[in-house]
Symmetry: C2
Subunit: 471 residues, 2 copies
């Protein structure tokens, strides 16, 4: 640092307020807390950002970056604030850059099947706004996620088994680099082999290489027919075996989700839906396509499920009930949070493994959770080999915290032994840096560090995330 | 260079022959020519590689890289040799690294739906070898392409409209870096959000960042039913309009290709198929899925085509005829090459544009080709906005060569004006560096150069491709 850091900050804020207006920078305590702490996160730290910037345009983000570079102030992008691994925390203080004023759909190109958006557009609002075009954006993480953060964490969701993940749906990005320069990673063709795939390098880089300010997304056609069904199985292993057969039969399910008996009980207790669920391992299916196609797929899936001791399929009778059934799945984390007593926290985390290993890792992990007496639920994107654990614990009890930490560490180690990954869709953030190193080894991490150092020589872009800042 | 380059080469070859065996390095003239010149390429240069290495393993590639680094010798990976933009040419001489001894399928994990292969595995052989598993690898570029080169150029093919491109089908890569160190970009989960997406950074980097020695590919299920149909349209615009409606209706065609009247005449003249084709704009459709699904899709596509003045659909009656019909499409470039007279060359190139602009760019480009009196055919991956021109010209006639160059340059400029890209699937190589700069601008190219410089500080990995070597 060239100046004492509090002087640097003072000058930087002053400069930015002069340039962008008084309201462009906040140092309000509540604002700082909201941008540095999250009750959903697996980890929280004492340090908060020291200011929050509210840019209105790519050019303003560029100005912010130039000033931050001048005074060597870390920059941390913020959109939905729903990430789970402290991805937007501020271990080195610095400036949180909140995109709440950059929440516009800039252009819908229906004939090209794409849309240009700003980072703070929510995927749910986007789909609501564009539905008359007959098109939709299929990546569906937690309901509060916004496109900017979805790019940052390379997220996915329940539709991934059919439609893939964030990296499959971005055509180009506009990015402000560490020195304030503005680049576009591609023009607007759906397909390109022109030079390095910078689009996919920035996706999942959690703001450590640059700040994404504009995103062109691919869209796809809203299916003619959608059907949602729920079915129970006596064990997770039966459910997983059925899911595996569905995949190997090539049946194009739109989504295939599993929740364990604990998660179903949580939904009942939290009263998130009007329905009373059987407290058994339960699979949620979404089918979509033409009417005839959906009918055919449902028939094939039912036949497979029956050979694995499924209960009866319960179908939603209308679009409203479809949303209700599916919301039980989408709001599972919130249901868990709703059950906390004073002092409780929920540690929610994910891993992914090769498809055939999912039942093994779920079974062993559940056994360990039970043995340690932890209250925890499991749910999985079973067609992707990706599953989540949500563990409730008393944050005031160091023994309980230690037990949870051990469970998570063991789950990650098991995933790695099975040639899996420490995170299928949440990202690394602060929480999983050691796991990433264990997963890929020091030489691969060094490649990431070289790229980071080349694009951000002062390590000002979301420092401390994904990898440690060199000492 | 620390040594006079011919001394350096002498020492390097000597060292490598001692370590890897006499046959591991060739300096045979014909071998050098085959590794530095291609009759398919849009561009050829006088310089050839000065040696060809034939490694047998990742460890041997690492040894080669260490020696090349020591003596500052460029390294150029080579697999199928069918790229079109001089992607494997040797403008700075150096060592061509030919993977012909690394052509094994290392592991098929049918339950995980993936396969681990070496770079010289051909995608067609791969599918033949694994077909009993009920799985296949869907990326289908030219028949002679091999997986290593397919990774390097980020290729695609006729199946892309349904299945996506190379970047969607790679789980992990083993890569030898410029200093000889060996990294793996990920373990083996189908989905991961763990750190930078190095897999997709190496895909399409044309060997300029590292040498790919092992690839884990996703596989998918062989559809129960496949149907191939051919139909003519009075104009390209009618065909394109029909294609656009098929896309917007969300009909999951497996492939949708267009060839113009010239290309159909070329196939007739070359006698590539036993059939006599109508010399009109022609669309090739592939449908796949369940029997009922295919029936339904065919019906919908026929109805759309009819409203755009299509002729009758001609369906292949059996698997053999399917292959025959489809081979007319797959071997279109070879048909063109077969018609060359003494001194003729074929310039084959591609661009991609946002979907709605494809008919415009095809029409204008054909008009220009006609006006200049060039013999040229057009074909397109019409569902991807990607099309190819193959232009025949007399290489001894500088006026003709200049005319072809102008046509290609104009086609690229038009694609860029339409927010498209200078290449949808062939890559940049030597041929399109200026176009890439025009497409993305100097700041984006500088990001690519920073990454290149960080991973390969001596610019030894396939130098001169994608971007110029800094002077």
């Amino acid at each position: 640092m060239e100046l004492d850091s509090s002087f640097a900050l003072f000058f930087a804020i002053d400069e930015l307020r002069s340039a962008l207006g008084e309201d462009a920078i906040s140092t309000d305590d509540e604002d700082l807390l909201r941008h540095g702490y999250s009750e959903w996160s697996s980890i929280n730290i004492d340090q908060l950002p020291v200011a929050v910037a509210y840019p209105q345009s790519t050019e303003q983000v560029s100005q912010i970056a130039k000033v931050c570079l001048e005074y060597k102030i870390p920059m941390i992008p913020y959109s939905g604030g729903s990430s789970l691994e402290a991805n937007f925390s501020a271990p080195y203080g610095g400036m949180s850059i909140d995109f709440s004023h950059m929440d516009k759909i800039l252009a819908l190109h229906a004939d090209d099947m794409d849309v240009v958006v700003q980072p703070s557009v929510s995927w749910m609002n986007l789909n609501e706004e564009i539905k008359d075009s007959g098109l939709f954006f299929p990546v569906d993480p937690g309901p509060s996620a916004r496109i900017g953060g979805m790019v940052g964490t390379s997220c996915s969701g329940t539709n991934a088994v059919r439609y893939g993940t964030m990296k499959d749906w971005v055509i180009n990005l506009t990015v402000v680099l560490a020195d304030g320069s503005i680049i576009k990673t591609r023009r607007r063709p759906r397909k390109s082999a022109a030079g390095y795939n910078l689009t996919n390098l920035f996706i999942g880089s959690e703001g450590t290489l640059g700040i994404v300010t504009e995103i062109t997304l691919k869209l796809t056609v809203i299916p003619e027919e959608t059907s949602v069904a729920v079915v129970t199985f006596p064990t997770i292993r039966d459910a997983a075996a059925a899911a595996s057969k569905v995949m190997r039969a090539g049946i194009p399910v739109a989504a295939m989700e599993i929740m364990d008996e604990v998660q179903m009980a949580v939904i009942n207790k939290a009263g998130s839906t009007s329905k009373k669920w059987k407290e058994m391992p339960t699979m949620f299916f979404k089918f979509s396509g033409t009417k005839a196609g959906v009918r055919e797929n449902v028939k094939m899936v039912k036949a497979i499920a029956r050979t694995h001791r499924s209960g009866d399929f319960e179908f939603a009778v209308d679009a409203h009930e479809q949303r209700t059934l599916w919301s039980a799945r989408k709001e599972s984390l919130w249901s868990m949070l709703a059950l906390r007593r004073e002092g409780d926290e929920v540690w929610s985390t994910d891993v992914a493994v090769p498809l055939s290993r999912l039942p093994d890792i779920i079974e062993v992990s559940k056994t360990e959770l039970d043995a340690l007496g932890l209250f925890a639920s499991v749910l999985g994107h079973i067609g992707d080999g990706n599953f989540h654990e949500s563990i409730m614990y008393n944050s005031k009890d160091p023994k309980e915290r230690a037990a949870v930490e051990k469970c998570v560490k063991d789950m990650v180690d098991r995933a790695l032994e099975m040639e899996g990954t420490c995170t299928g869709e949440h990202g690394i953030g602060l929480g999983k840096k050691d796991s990433l190193l264990k997963e890929l080894g020091v030489d691969t991490i060094n490649v990431m560090k070289s790229i980071k150092g080349a694009l951000d020589p002062h390590w000002l872009m979301n420092p401390g995330k994904i990898m440690d800042v060199p000492s």
